[in-house]
Symmetry: C2
Subunit: 116 residues, 2 copies
């Protein structure tokens, strides 16, 4: 985990950055229900097509979405990125965090022992 | 998950954004081993103190790090944010993603049925 390649690091950067916006997370939820055009994705957000396209581009660059021209519109679907690396990193962090608490508890127990 | 408050959305934005940089993820790993000063955190990265402070600020704003002045230096530790919301979101996304594959498999099975 700690010794990651530069490429894996960049992929993880892109995935976390793509998820750091509630509009983009909303697009993913929407596409989880099935493919949708840029227009269909824009409608519930009240955004312009251009504004929404930029968000889709960020998701596409991170492998979270794929798009294809279908007739006059562009159809979007969930991409190949399953977020396993993101999940592993967050799991790893939570273990670190719990260990920190274990250390704090051990310290407080030690303190209580000294005070008695 | 989908019906989140604006505040929860912003917290999630901040957490994902804070994690979207390998230097910041490295700082968290380092602090998982124990508290460290800005100087100690800067050393392995080759960054300036000012550059590193900016990353620590982003982590502090997201609740991932706390800092306190100790003598002449600023000591950093892992903060109170356990990333449970980030974990829930990623879990939720992975379920969406798997369901999408289920749908695709069902479609392919149907296609095979039609071809035979």
């Amino acid at each position: 985990m700690v010794h990651q390649t530069l490429e894996a690091d960049t992929r993880l950067d892109d995935a976390f950055a793509a998820l750091s916006d509630s509009t983009r997370r909303g697009i993913l939820v929407q596409l989880g229900k099935g493919p949708a055009t840029i227009g269909e994705l824009a409608e519930p957000t009240g955004m312009t097509l251009t504004g929404l396209k930029k968000h889709v581009q960020v998701l596409e660059d991170a492998g979270l979405v794929t798009t294809a021209k279908v007739g006059r519109s562009r159809e979007c679907r969930l991409g190949s990125e399953r977020l396993d690396d993101v999940m592993s990193w967050v799991n790893f962090y939570q273990r670190l965090w719990e260990r920190r608490l274990d250390g704090l508890e051990a310290y407080l127990t030690l303190q209580r022992g000294t005070d008695e």
